[in-house]
Symmetry: C2
Subunit: 189 residues, 2 copies
DNA sequence: ACCTGAACACCGTTCAAGT
DNA sequence: ACCTGAACACCGTTCAAGT
């Protein structure tokens, strides 16, 4: 039975989740799928294109939520960013993959369209919403990769119980501060 | 005359500045310096270590400034971040290199010690200053890499005059919003 | 102390040729 | 349409041996 583009992407996500980005090579992927390397290039134009698809798949894990009421919008944003964080933090190098995808195709975070929408509910004008989202996403990805490496360094060490606390606290701090700053930017109507 | 670790690092910065991270390989570096690849590994433990040194060198371009007065501290921070941005934006993939260095040795941004200091002048307690800095640095690096790629995509296109405007505006927006949020976090004494 | 030569174990991408 | 086989032009790292 013929290999599918879907299968290819799923296998890539699998290797990433289990072994990290360094092990996610086209050759390794081909081995896993019992095909020759060249076969992959029939389904996918390049490794970069594949990584963009992988990033998209990672974002799918957090589904588009319902629109909140005006006064609840900031808390809804904070909650959903936190959800995204916990989803991505378990996948090695997920932040790097997202950053790569984002820099190769800026519309990679279109799945986060709800973020734009929620920000506008908060009072952010349509023109500024993309910039506000950018700040939040930068913080999300930056926090994740910062913490994933500290987890990697502590891999040899005993797993000091609750070593997530610093990363979590730092992440929450940033979200709170940024949201406050964004809302303060626009005088209440 | 013997090769120096300094020369090695400088050559690396040179290749990065001229051709980008993709061309910065140990073999290319060796060719440029008229030595065999193995020679590099006498001066440097690994490519990663070299990149950390490169990142440090990039940060050196903005020297530690004098401490501002309390009421001017936020503007001083904004001004210096802007200076850092203009210094790094001319160097291809500089943000990626900084992020790599940061994730390999978290004290990579010790050169930005002034940022901690300035934040404390703004009223941020010592315990929170590292988190506040993290948010600002994430925004700085995220903005830079976002814009560098849009420059790379526009490389084939005609250089639409003033195409920096969006990146600049988006960067300034983020700095303003984050600083406002940070300051609002702490009731005035 | 500093470097060469050569190897080891990999990469991403392309493409004629097969089925 | 989908894949193989094989090549091209690279990687980072190690290490005996040279000077």
């Amino acid at each position: 039975m013929a290999l599918t583009r879907e299968q290819l992407i799923d296998a890539a996500v699998g290797i990433l989740s289990e072994f990290g980005l360094a092990d996610l090579s086209m050759r390794r992927l081909a081995r896993e799928l019992d095909v020759q390397v060249g076969a992959l290039y029939w389904h996918v134009k390049s490794k970069q294109e594949l990584l963009v698809e992988v990033a998209a798949k990672l974002l799918d894990s957090v589904p588009k939520p319902d629109s909140p009421a005006v006064n609840l919008a900031p808390m809804a944003i904070a909650a959903l960013l936190s959800q995204l964080r916990t989803a991505l933090i378990t996948i090695p190098d997920s932040a790097e993959v997202m950053q790569l995808a984002q820099s190769m195709r800026p519309d990679s975070l279109d799945p986060l369209g709800w973020l734009l929408e929620f920000l506008e509910i908060c009072g952010v004008p349509e023109s500024d919403a993309p910039m506000a989202r950018h700040v939040l996403v930068n913080h999300l990805l930056g926090s994740i990769s910062a913490q994933q490496e500290s987890l990697a360094l502590a891999a040899g060490t005993e797993p000091t119980a609750g070593s997530d606390t610093w990363g979590q606290e730092s992440f929450d701090y940033g979200v709170r501060v940024i949201l406050r700053g964004i809302i303060a930017e626009y005088p209440k109507n």
